[in-house]
Homo-oligomer: 300 residues x 3
């Protein structure tokens, strides 16, 4: 088992690699197959699962909950569940949405969390994130909803996702946040220069990382930068005797803000590649080689 | 009458819609006509007037003061006056200026405020703003000038205009600020992402908004984005039975930073459109529809 | 003699113009010639010298130390030495570096400072800077290294170079910093708008400025903007009866963040031009004229 690790001083304890289930609705699996995947993840030490109300057009939480209902109580007690709220998608499942928009009213945050709990069949979320910065977000109102969910025992910890530093600072000024879940990989380096990672390190709050493999482009994309990164990952992997995917995860795990990558694949081997990265510490030169390949130029 | 509303915890109380007079010099009106316009604004509840030393080539404050001299004392007591300082324009009225520049020395700020008081014929400004961020601004010196003007009873409250968040934080670290008056409308959305609105909401300081209609482009511009916004405003206006201008003001009033728009038109109907927006709360979907039309893409 | 001036409340005292020696390895001088240049700098009041471990491919500190070994103890006692660490260059002098990268581990910072002390032949650095923001920088570890060097009496004060505001805030949250040494000149105005100068003024920490003459382009470059700046500098210089270089330094010295320019020339006349700027206070109009020439447009 991997030991759980704290996201922040008073934050939740999650597995150092988190399994992302955003595409579970497209895996075409039976509840038993989904349960088997969950069990195999847990066997690898990946006990934390990253959800959002909207994944699979508002269907993934229920698919996961259906599988979980077949599990033993002892398995269920070992899981940590992360979910998100605040986006309203246009989808047949929500006919009242005529345009994609955000909703970070207290009423919606509370209702969304309660819907997530019912669909997942769990009593408490370990972590609930505001999915996107909403231009209409009233931080006091969000803080009020968070406090109500916490006091009702429905959600243990709270955070943000895709927040710019100023938006994170705003919400953190009203309620303690445990993470900012952001996109980060060698082909998306903005968080290195826009203050996102500096802020989180300063606040001793660890980022969660979505799309750690750039949706697969790090391994198989055919753009120019993508091919340069693939070659660099292959060189480093060759030196360390591991897979390119393991190097890509190790590249993130090397950061001083101590991120938790969200690995989002139905393939257990993909989770295994991610977990293997926990044993691999890249040298600063390995790290720079991948950065340089991605940027197409030396570090400045 | 509209109730006055506080810009910040210890800030001035202004009407929720502010009348902007920056073009008054070009209206070609007599003092009596100007007084009539002021009276009509006040009848609508728009009792706050937004000035700057430089408006009309340093002429508007005197034109306004000339009209005000004809008013009854009871009318004059109901007004709130905002002005600005710190820009030095090249104009026949200031032959010593050979190039546009800024001046935020204490001597200039104090002299400019005193000139504004004399031109307006009032004893005190309710609010004085530094008009633009001056690369040569010494924040301690500005704070000293603000304190001197406050202690002399000449200006009640102070703020900034067009300040980036870092510049606002600098000046606010030396003296309490009551607002940052910024440009904001669907075609100028930078303040949503550059930290400006997040900072103000965090500090519980309300923005004032200049150019809320993009100088009229929201209603009559013929660029591609402008026409998309016009169509969206018309659709929303149709659903609510109001004018497109009212929807444009309601789009701003919907923001959690609780902005005060500055409506700058000689047409009393235009002020009426703005005031009507105080009664209109756009849904998040209406709001997103206008954002999406302006951006040419969905919210992310 | 120029009086020394403090970089920050508890910062080091440096001469208001600092001599930069980054190109000393290319001057082709004997140790005696280097000593003569140091003596002449000191005679001008320029007693602070700006180094980095990597200058001249890791050779300049030793060249400087060799000259200093020939100096009288009284001269040596009058100098202030600044150095930097954290970049690892690919160079024959460091065969273990296969790619340019950064290293801000405690082990490297301490070893680099000790190597600098030995090469320079001095017992203490007055100021040590982290040369570039390192994506792998663990601020707690850097702070630990700074504390160890300070407690051992090896380095008196610490700072950063080329840090964005968020990175500076991060490291300053762990250890008191005395400066951020940045590039700034009329053709590189980003620090005016990206928060760098606002942050430093707010924190009452003075910037050091590298490349104050844009590597000479302000005086002799032939790009369009460069020629406009040269013409503006010449006009202002003509009015003040000084050199264009003196005006360029005065343009920086006019800033309220009170920068210390690093003048990097083997020509003593060039240092004299910089020192002369300490006696020249540009008017706001002179300053704006140079800004406008560089930007190709009025101040906004």
């Amino acid at each position: 088992m991997l030991p759980l690790t704290s996201l922040a001083a008073d934050g939740p304890r999650l597995s150092p690699i988190v399994a992302g289930v955003w595409r579970m609705a497209y895996w075409g699996w039976s509840a038993q197959e989904r349960l088997r995947w969950i069990e195999q993840s847990v066997e690898l030490g990946v006990t934390s699962f990253d959800h959002a109300d909207i994944y699979g057009g508002y269907s993934v939480e229920a698919l996961f909950g259906e599988a979980l209902a077949l599990a033993s109580p002892s398995l269920r007690q070992r899981l940590q569940i992360v979910s998100k709220c605040g986006i309203k998608l246009v989808t047949p499942a929500r006919p009242e949405h005529r345009i994609k928009h955000y909703d970070t009213t207290a009423a919606h945050i509370i209702a969304s969390a309660e819907t997530s709990l019912r669909a997942l069949g769990v009593e408490r979320l370990d972590l609930l994130l505001v999915h996107r910065p909403d231009p209409l977000m009233d931080a006091d109102e969000v803080a009020g909803a968070f406090a109500a969910l916490r006091d009702a025992g429905k959600v243990a910890h709270f955070g943000a996702s895709n927040f710019a530093p100023a938006t994170f600072e705003l919400l953190a000024s009203r309620f303690p946040l445990s993470t900012n879940q952001i996109e980060l990989h060698p082909l998306h380096r903005a968080p290195f220069s826009d203050g996102t990672l500096d802020q989180l390190q300063r606040l001793r709050i660890r980022p969660m990382i979505w799309s750690p493999l750039a949706g697969g482009a790090l391994l198989s994309g055919d753009g120019e930068a993508e091919r340069r990164v693939q070659a660099a990952l292959a060189r480093v992997a060759g030196r360390h005797g591991c897979t390119a995917a393991t190097v890509a995860f190790a590249w993130l795990l090397r950061l001083p803000s101590r991120p938790l990558p969200v690995a989002g694949s139905r393939r257990i081997e993909a989770l295994r590649d991610a977990v293997a990265a926990l044993q691999l510490t890249l040298s600063a030169q390995d790290w720079a080689e991948i950065w340089q390949a991605a940027a197409g130029r030396e570090l400045p």
